[in-house]
């Protein structure tokens, strides 16, 4: 009798381990494609960047001399990097809140049940379909000092024209305006989707209670939209920190480094000055910044978010 139960137990555990192995194997197989993709395009570059940030490199980017934290010390003391950080923070401040407020406003408008509202929805979301390069070139024309429509407008009302992209005080604003315009399509579409997910009955019930438009907006729409807004804010923040294309086309980081955002600065450090070590250190610094901001956001922002 005792033997029999022991035998049973033994086979049971055997079967158990066998099954566990089979489960593991199939789980790994399912994960394999994304693991390969992530490794090749994410983990390997990340590791390599971290590695390079501790070395002095030659022109080909081959690590020559191990220098420890020196690259980090150098960038943290360099004035141009300070400027770059300041410009990036200002840029984030200019683009993220404004962009989201405008998108929210447009989405609220486009969510009304009116005739022909589909036309406006298409228009508002259309910047999503325009590439960074194309829209930057369009704005290059708009900002042109003499032929640009912006200065012509100002001139026609009798103002003095502004060197949008060439003046250190205006260049960052101009790039920010371009970026806001480009990002509106995406934010608008996501927020509109969020708005349409809100149960119509909630508004009907509020209407019967006598709630006005802004009361409904404050107590129903915004709370119900909070997961969507949270997502949009996160994505916009990360995007703003990583802005590159429009800077490259509109200003190349100038004038006098006023638009030298971090990613652009990294690019110049690595591929213009061939300083792969300090460029890698800057990248790691940027990575940590975005990580910290995102963690903070999840920690403090998510409390206010209502998930269904």
């Amino acid at each position: 009798m005792k033997n029999a139960t022991a035998f049973q137990e033994k086979t049971l555990t055997q079967i158990d381990t066998k099954w566990r192995f089979v489960h593991w194997r199939s789980a790994i197989l399912y994960l394999l494609p994304s693991m390969i993709l992530f490794s090749v395009f994410l983990f390997y570059p990340l590791g390599k960047t971290l590695y390079l940030s501790f070395f002095l490199t030659d022109q080909q980017g081959v690590a020559n001399v191990f220098v420890g934290w020196e690259n980090y010390q150098y960038i943290l003391q360099a004035e141009s990097f300070h400027k770059s950080i300041k410009a990036t923070l200002l840029f984030v401040l200019y683009t993220v809140p404004t962009g989201i407020l405008i998108s929210l406003f447009l989405a609220l408008l486009a969510n009304e049940k009116l005739k022909g509202v589909g036309f406006f929805r298409t228009i508002y979301s259309s910047t999503m379909g325009v590439s960074v390069a194309a829209s930057a070139v369009v704005w290059l024309f708009i900002f042109h000092p003499s032929m640009g429509i912006l200065n012509q407008l100002i001139a026609s009302v009798g103002g003095t024209s502004i060197d949008w992209l060439l003046h250190p005080d205006w260049a960052l604003v101009s790039v920010a305006v371009t970026t806001i315009w480009m990002n509106i399509g995406f934010s608008f579409l996501i927020i509109l989707g969020g708005l349409q997910n809100v149960d119509e009955h909630l508004y009907e019930s509020a209407k019967i209670s006598g709630a006005g438009y802004f009361y409904q907006l404050r107590r129903i729409t915004i709370p119900m939209l909070s997961p969507t807004l949270f997502f949009v804010v996160t994505v916009s923040l990360i995007n703003a920190f990583q802005t590159f294309g429009q800077v490259d086309i509109l200003t190349q980081g100038g004038p006098s480094e006023s638009t030298n955002l971090i990613v652009y600065s990294i690019y110049r450090e690595a591929f213009v000055n061939y300083q792969f070590g300090t460029a890698s250190a800057q990248s790691i610094f940027l990575f940590l910044c975005i990580l910290i901001v995102t963690i903070l956001q999840f920690k403090f922002g998510e409390r206010k978010v209502h998930y269904q």
Binding site: D199, H201, L202, E204, S205, A206, K207, I208, S209, G210, A211, Y215, R219, I220, P223, M224, S226, H306, Q308
Partner: protein
Amino acid sequence: MYSVELINVDKTYDNKQLVVKDVNITIQSGEFFVLVGPSGCGKSTLLRMIAGLEGISAGTLRIDGKKANHLPPSKRELSMVFQNYALYPHMTVEDNITFGLDVKKIRKKEQRKKCNDIAEMLGLTEYLKRKPRHLSGGQRQRVALARAIITNSPICLMDEPLSNLDAKLRAHMRAEIRELQRKLGITLIYVTHDQVEAMTMGDRIMVLNEGEIQQVGKPIDVYNSPANPFVAKFIGSPPMNLTTGLVNREKHHITLQDQLSIPIDPMVLNNIENNKVIVGIRPENIEISSANSQANLSFEVKIDHLEILGTETLIKFKWNNSDWYAKWHGQWNIDVGQSLQLQLDKDSLCIYDEHTEKLIVKPSNIQKQNVREGII
């Protein structure tokens, strides 16, 4: 407490088809009024027009005697319970209940007091701090009720509030809502497609089909003498058995399927214009034929199906190609496939004109048992 009056009200969504057709009804103040009908007949549409969530295409709506066609929902002094409750998912139960008071900028202290009173009345005190998603269906339903009654609106509208609940809870909530309405004395307009709810809750019920009123009256009157074959089929479970009959004017009777002949009073016969009629009988009025029965009203059938429900037995059989039901008190030992001799109770028949579908003859032996006080 306000009355609600609908005068020649029409509704169309697409300017082609009328979803609500020429509805005329006055709902008394303090009345429990039930709107019942099959799915898609326009019940919700009618209710939403009263609430002001849907425009009125034609006709007049009066609330408390005053024309209210273009009044915004908030000015109609009513509350509404939606079918899916429409609770605000991001607010606690307490905030949900006090929403209507908060809109009216009533002081927080007073809000809390009223909320506690109502929560106590509906047994929600423990749940005030929870979010709706952490409540059971019945509790959510009660929150919706609490939200509706806290504003003390003289009119309350409910759109199938019990349809998401299980049968037992539904029976419980039926009584609870009815009691609440009596206690508060509000005018309650209640939409349902469940005829048990209609029968048991309403002071009066209105049967609607394809946007048209079929019958308005006390539930028991609607049950006993349905105004047309549609109502006869819709109210009552199982439905009334219907068949066609031919009027024989010389012999003063109506023949059913060449088998049965029902004697008819010559006086009544004069009222029948059409020679073709529809004859209906409730399942409980079909009896087992006894030896001394009138032969002309009995017929033999084969039993197809049998349900013994404890207090009553339900029998299904085919008669002239349609399914008929009989319902008898008690538990009957009958085999499926067995043949039985049945008979119709000739005083319990409803007779309709086949063409106009109007009720010509009502049942004459409606059994009402009265109990005098103090005797039981």
